[in-house]
C-alpha cells in the first residue's frame, strides 16, 4: 500500500528558507552559554555499573590469603589464552598448608584479555574477579603482562563468606575420635 505524504504548503517567505535558517542560528546561539556535558576524564571518572566487567584481577579473602589454588581452569577456559599460571606446592611452613597448591606466578596478558568474564565464572574458588579497571595502558607489551603481585594489588580483598580454610585440616592427634595415625608414612 502506498501512502500519500501530504507536503505542507510553504509560503513565499518560508520558501526562501530564511526563517528556518534564522531559527537554526538562534538555536545554536542559545546553546553557547548552556551547561556543558563534557566529562573531564581522567580527572573525572565515569560512574560504573556494579556489574561492569573491567580487567580481571586476583583477590584475597578477608583474612588476607590468596584464594587462587592454581587449578588452571581459568587458563583453560580463557578464549584468547590470556592467562598463564605456574603452579607450585604451598610451602610447608605457611599456616593452612593443607591447601596444598597455589600459584607461583599468575600472568594475565591484558593485551589479549577480552574482558569476557569466563575466568570469573569458571573459578571454583571465587579467586578471580573482573573489577572495574578499564583503562589499562603501558608503554611496552611486557608492562601489560600483569603478574601475580600486580593482579593481587588490583584485586584487593573480596569481602565474601567463602572460608574454605576455616574448618579444614586434620584435627589434632589427641582430639577425641581422631584416627590413630600409626605406620611408617614419613609425615602424617
Amino acid at each position: 500500500m502506498t501512502m500519500q505524504v501530504e507536503r505542507p504548503k510553504l509560503t513565499i517567505w518560508e520558501r526562501t528558507y530564511l526563517p528556518q535558517i534564522l531559527h537554526g542560528l538562534w538555536l545554536t546561539l542559545k546553546h553557547i552559554p548552556q551547561r556543558k556535558f563534557t566529562r573531564q576524564y581522567p580527572e573525572e571518572k565515569p560512574p560504573l555499573h556494579g556489574a561492569y566487567r573491567g580487567a580481571p584481577t586476583l583477590v584475597k579473602d578477608p583474612e588476607g590469603r590468596v584464594k587462587c589454588v592454581s587449578c588452571q581452569l581459568c587458563e583453560f577456559v580463557c578464549p584468547p589464552k590470556a592467562i598463564r599460571i605456574t603452579p607450585r606446592a604451598r610451602p610447608e611452613d605457611v599456616p593452612d598448608a593443607n591447601v596444598e597448591k597455589e600459584p607461583e606466578d599468575f600472568v594475565i596478558d591484558m593485551l589479549r584479555c577480552i574482558y569476557c568474564g569466563y575466568c570469573e565464572e569458571v573459578c571454583p574458588e571465587e579467586a578471580i574477579f573482573l573489577k572495574q579497571d578499564f583503562a589499562i595502558a603501558g608503554y611496552t607489551r611486557e608492562e601489560l603482562r600483569f603478574h601475580k603481585e600486580k593482579l593481587l594489588e588490583l584485586g584487593g580483598v573480596q569481602p565474601d563468606s567463602i572460608w574454605k580454610w576455616k574448618f579444614k585440616g586434620a584435627p589434632p592427634l589427641d582430639a577425641p575420635g581422631a584416627p590413630k595415625r600409626e605406620g611408617a608414612g614419613r609425615k602424617g
Binding site: 535558517i21 537554526g24 542560528l25 545554536t28 546561539l29 553557547i32 552559554p33 556543558k36
Partner: protein
C-alpha cells in the same frame, strides 16, 4: 627617518603576522564554538583554556609523515596547496586595516593603513582570489584518484559560478561610492552611512557568495567528507594538508575583511573621532582595532553558520547561484542605477 621601503616591509610583516595569528586562532575558535553549541567544552588541555592548541596543532602538522602517494602527479601535487593558500595572503594587501598612522618620528607623511592603495583595489581582489580555485582544481586533478577529482570538479564549477555573483553583487556599491579604491570606499562610509544599510541586497548576496567562495558550510561541496571522503585534499597529509587548511581560513579572513570594508564601514565607526582619518597615533591604532573587531565578528558568523546549517545539495547550490542570485544582482544594479540617477539629478 626610516626609508619608505622599510616601512612597507614592516607593514607587510605585521599584516601577514596578524593575519596568520588570527587564522590560527580561528581554528581554535571554530573548535571551541562548535563545542559550546553542542554543549561540550572543546579543546582545553594545551595551555590555559586550551589557548596553546594552535601551537600543538602546528607541531603535529610539522611532525606528521608527509605522504606522497606514488600515483600522483608529483609537481602539481606539491604546488597545489601553495597555490590555494597564497592568493588569500596577497589580496589582503589592498584591504585598508586602518585609516592612517601618524608617527612623526618615523615618517613625515602619515602612513596609510593599507599596504597598497590601489585604484582598482576590488578588481585586484577578484583577480587574485579567483586564482585560488587553481589550487583546488590542481589538487583534485594531480591526486589522480576519484574523490579528489570529483571534489576538484565541483569546486571549479562552484567557484566560477559564485565569482559571477560576487562580482555583480558589489557593482552597486561602487556605483554609489564612485571609486574602486577600497580606501575610498571606507572613507565614503565614514562620511555617509554604511553601505550595508543602503545596499542590503548586495550585502546579503555578497555574504552568501563568500560562503560559497570559501568552501564553507553550507556550501562545502568540494570537500563534503560524507560523500567525497575529503574532496580535493583526500590524498594530502602533513604540512601540505595544513596549507589547504590555512588557505581556507585565510580566505575566510579575507572574506570577512571584505565584508567589513565594503558594507560595514571598515575601520570607521559612525561617530567622531572614528569617522575620519586618524590625526593621532592612538586613534589610528583604534581604527585598526575596530577593523579587526569587525573581521572577528564576521569570522564568528562564518563559524556560527557552519555549525548550524546543513550542506546544500549541488543542484540547489547551482540553482541558487545562477537562477536566483545572478538575476537578483542584475536587478539590483538596475535599481541602484535608476535610484542613483534620480538622486544625483
Amino acid at each position: 627617518m626610516i626609508p619608505l621601503l622599510l616601512i612597507h616591509l614592516i607593514k607587510i610583516a605585521c599584516v601577514i603576522g596578524v593575519m596568520l595569528g588570527i587564522v590560527a586562532y580561528t581554528v581554535l575558535a571554530e573548535r571551541k564554538i562548535c563545542a559550546w553549541m553542542q554543549d561540550r567544552i572543546g579543546p582545553n588541555r594545551v595551555g590555559p583554556f586550551g589557548l596553546l592548541q594552535p601551537v600543538a596543532d602546528g607541531l603535529k602538522f610539522i611532525f606528521k609523515e608527509d605522504v606522497l602517494p606514488h600515483h600522483v602527479n608529483k609537481v602539481y601535487f606539491t604546488l597545489a596547496p601553495m597555490i590555494a593558500m597564497i592568493p588569500a595572503l596577497i589580496t589582503i594587501a589592498v584591504v585598508p586595516w586602518g585609516s592612517q598612522l601618524v608617527i612623526p618620528s618615523v615618517s613625515h607623511d602619515p602612513i596609510p593603513g593599507v599596504i597598497a592603495n590601489l585604484n582598482v583595489g576590488i578588481l585586484f581582489v577578484f583577480a587574485i582570489s579567483s586564482l585560488g580555485v587553481y589550487g583546488i582544481v590542481l589538487a583534485g586533478w594531480s591526486s589522480n584518484s576519484k574523490y579528489p577529482f570529483l571534489g576538484g570538479i565541483r569546486s571549479s564549477a562552484q567557484m566560477i559560478s559564485y565569482e559571477v555573483c560576487l562580482g555583480l553583487s558589489v557593482v552597486p556599491v561602487f556605483m554609489q561610492v564612485g571609486s574602486l579604491n577600497l580606501m575610498k570606499v571606507v572613507e565614503y562610509q565614514a562620511q555617509h552611512t554604511w553601505l550595508g544599510f543602503t545596499q542590503p541586497l548586495s550585502c546579503f548576496i555578497f555574504l552568501v557568495s563568500a560562503f560559497a567562495e570559501t568552501n564553507r558550510l553550507p556550501f562545502d561541496l568540494p570537500e563534503a567528507e560524507q560523500e567525497l571522503v575529503g574532496g580535493y585534499h583526500t590524498e594530502y597529509s602533513s604540512m601540505k594538508f595544513a596549507m589547504f587548511f590555512l588557505g581556507e581560513y585565510a580566505a575566510m579572513f579575507m572574506a570577512s575583511a571584505l565584508m567589513a570594508t565594503l558594507f560595514f564601514g571598515g575601520w570607521s565607526l559612525p561617530f567622531a573621532p572614528f569617522n575620519a582619518p586618524a590625526q593621532t597615533l592612538t586613534v589610528g591604532l583604534i581604527h585598526i582595532g575596530i577593523f579587526l573587531a569587525k573581521v572577528c565578528g564576521f569570522l564568528f558568523f562564518f563559524i556560527w553558520v557552519r555549525w548550524t546549517i546543513p550542506r546544500f545539495r549541488y543542484d540547489q547550490l547551482m540553482t541558487l547561484g545562477w537562477k536566483i542570485f545572478i538575476p537578483l544582482t542584475l536587478l539590483n544594479i538596475l535599481i541602484s542605477g535608476v535610484v542613483l540617477a534620480v538622486i544625483t539629478k
